[in-house]
Each structure stands twice: as structure tokens, then as C-alpha cells.
Symmetry: C2
Subunit: 228 residues, 2 copies
């Protein structure tokens, strides 16, 4: 009787692919063929198709007509826009989280920091990357705003792609000690400091990117022919 007891829903497929992208197990440009995904998730083609459309609408996947779906490859311009958006949103989210955090939230934050630290120390890279992104969505969750949470999930996921393209070879997403400092500021009831630390944290991440780097591949040709 239950409507979706046997097959998994589109939301779950989207969530799983989001997770894989965040963990950088699906690098930018990876082809996501329909048949492979059908097999992987054990669902019909239509469901995969809808999932890919949803992923494309959030700009995590790029649909090329008659050529299939690919993990998005953000441009330098898009990278700039994503970080600009994060700089607009996350200080506000930090402030809201500061205002609304309950003791249970602080416990969740503490546990999260522990997990992040452990994953880093034990060299579980994928998990560490996922957790470092999840820290930012956890704050949005504590802020108690589903709209902001949704936005942050998208931005964090796209940030993983951006780091994959423009980040150095071993550049991970965040340094977990900066997360620790933010939580410390929240615990010290110093909202403004938390906001400032978040802003600095984002600038710090962005400063580790080389936005002129990989785009040269295609831009060289384009600028060659578009030249004066």
C-alpha cells in the first residue's frame, strides 16, 4: 500500500548524487549516463531522468542536448558568484544560528567537530571533505530556516566542484580549526565574532583558489578567435 516502499524516490537519488559530488567522488565533467544510473539505483529510466533534471536545475549537473548529463564544471565567473553568494548568506546564517542555538545544537556542533577532526586525523579524505561542507549546512539548520538551508546545500555542493577545478592538488575544503573557532565564538556568546570569523573563513577558502588556472584550456581557443 505504501506508495514508494520498493523503489527509492527522486529526492533520495538527488541527495546521493549531491553527497558524492560533495565528497569529490564525482569529479566535474563526469558523464552520468542514464543506463548506468538506472542500474546503480535500481530504478527506471524516467526516475533517473527526473533526478537529472532536478540536479540540473540546481546547477550541479549540466544537461547537454542529445549528449547526456555531466557533472557540472563551474567557470571562474560562476566560482566568483558562488563565493559572493556565500559571503552574502553565511554571515547572516551565523548570526541567526547564534541567536537560536539551543544546548542540543551546541552538542550537535561539538560532535560534528569531533567527527571532522577524527576524519582528518585518520586520513579518511572523502568523509573529511563531506563533513567540512556539512558544517556550513549544519549552521543553516541551526539557524532554523529551510530556505537558507536549501541555498546552502546547493552552494556547498558547487563549492566542492569549484575546489575540484580551481583548487590546488591537495586543497581540501576547509581547515577544521577555523570551524572550531567559530563554534568557540558561539559558545562564548560573541555573535559578532562568529560572524566575522565566518567571513574571514570564506575569504580564506576563496584565497586558496586559482581562478585563472584550468579555464585556459578552452579560453585560449575562444579568445584566439574572438581577438581583435
Amino acid at each position: 500500500m505504501s506508495p514508494n516502499a520498493d523503489e527509492i524516490a527522486e529526492e533520495e537519488i538527488v541527495e546521493r548524487i549531491f553527497e558524492a559530488v560533495v565528497e569529490q567522488r564525482l569529479p566535474p565533467g563526469t558523464k552520468l549516463s542514464e543506463s548506468a544510473l538506472c542500474e546503480a539505483f535500481g530504478v527506471g529510466r524516467m526516475r533517473i531522468r527526473r533526478s537529472l533534471l532536478l540536479l540540473a536545475s540546481r546547477e550541479v549537473v549540466e544537461l547537454r542536448a542529445n549528449r547526456g548529463a555531466y557533472v557540472a564544471t563551474p567557470t571562474a565567473e560562476q566560482a566568483r558568484e558562488v563565493f559572493e553568494a556565500r559571503l552574502a548568506l553565511e554571515p547572516a546564517i551565523a548570526r541567526l544560528a547564534f541567536e537560536r542555538a539551543t544546548p542540543a545544537d551546541f552538542a550537535a556542533l561539538a560532535q560534528h567537530l569531533r567527527q571532522e577532526h577524527d576524519a582528518n586525523q585518520q586520513g579518511r579524505r572523502h568523509e573529511a571533505i563531506r563533513l567540512s561542507g556539512q558544517f556550513h549546512t549544519l549552521l543553516a539548520q541551526i539557524a532554523g530556516n529551510a530556505v537558507l538551508l536549501r541555498m546552502m546545500k546547493d552552494l556547498v555542493t558547487r563549492t566542492s566542484l569549484i575546489i575540484g577545478i580551481f583548487g590546488g592538488p591537495g586543497a581540501s575544503n576547509c581547515r577544521d580549526d577555523e570551524h572550531q573557532q567559530i563554534v568557540d565564538a558561539l559558545l562564548a556568546r560573541d555573535g559578532q565574532k562568529a560572524v566575522d570569523l565566518m567571513t574571514a573563513h570564506l575569504h580564506h577558502i576563496a584565497s586558496h583558489l586559482d581562478l585563472e588556472a584550468k579555464s585556459s584550456n578552452s579560453v585560449d581557443l575562444v579568445s584566439l578567435f574572438a581577438g581583435p
Copy 2:
């Protein structure tokens, strides 16, 4: 040879429905039957289906299983979240617009204010509502950030729904003189004033809502049975 010369694309259908919702010609709760939309846009069912899925992913449309698509009816909680998100985003957008506005942008703003004023004076209500929402997306456009622009389009559209539900009978979206003041601040090269005016403007809109109002229809019953 052109791929979509005869039929209109999903994006255009989504855009058209967005516009209709912003103009409050599609009130919250309106049923969007597939057959009707197929006829209206002259496209096949699949395309309509995809469009509705995209609209649902942006929470402008609600898909009820086996019952069809309906224009979303935001709850009071969602209304709060939307305005909170706008308060987080729009001051930042105003600042970016301030930093990047070119003379051409100012001309566009001036023309927009004129159109808004005219539509208000001549009583073209739908157009006036649309333009008053469009002012906010125009600022995001001037800010030069596609990510923020997309977010603002969604939020503005949902705001129209929120006003339709929680706004007074004749409550329109914005008072255009407040838009004028914001542009004046930009022209005076007073970025901080523009930011503050935007914040005040949003608070002003939100203050005209009665978030306890219409939800009583269903909440009464729920709270009745959930009572202690």
C-alpha cells in the same frame, strides 16, 4: 535545423508561470492541470510535466501525488523564512549593485521607476505588482551575480504568493516611493544608506502581513486535536 524552432522550451514555460504568479493572476492553490497547460502552451504532456517538476523544485508549485500540480500555498512559517532570506540577501545585493552600477544601469533603474509609477497611477494593477517585484530582481541583475539573481527571482515570486495569502485585501507588494528612495541613495553614492533603506523596505513589507490570519482555516482543526 534549429532544435527548438517550433515548440517553446521548458524554461519559457517556467518563466511564463513565474510571471503569472508574480502578477497574482495565478492565486495560491490554483490547480494546474496537465491537459490545460498542454493546450495553453501548445506542447506535449512531457514538456509540461518537466516544467511542473522544475516549478516544484523552486517551491512555486506543489505536486501532490496522484492529484496534480497546484500553485503553492506558503505557510506562515515559510513566509517567515522567505523574508528572513530576503533580509539576508538583499542588503548584500544592494551593496553589490552600489559598487557595480554603471551609467547604463542607472538609466535602466530610472526607466523602471517611471514604468512602475505609471502603472500605479493608471491603475494597471497586475503590471504594477510585477514591476514592483522586478525592481528587486533588477538590482540583483545590476549586482552582476547570476546565482543571487536566481535566488531573488524565486524569493520574489514566493513573496507574491505570501502577500496573496497573508496580505490585506488591497495590499500590493511594495510602495514605489521606497524604491525611488533606494535609487536616490545609489545616485547620491551613499551605499550604506541604500543598504539601510533596503532593509527598512523589507521590514516594511513584512509588517503589512498578518501571519496568523488565513492559516486558521486548517490550523484550528489541527490544534483542536493536538491539544493537551
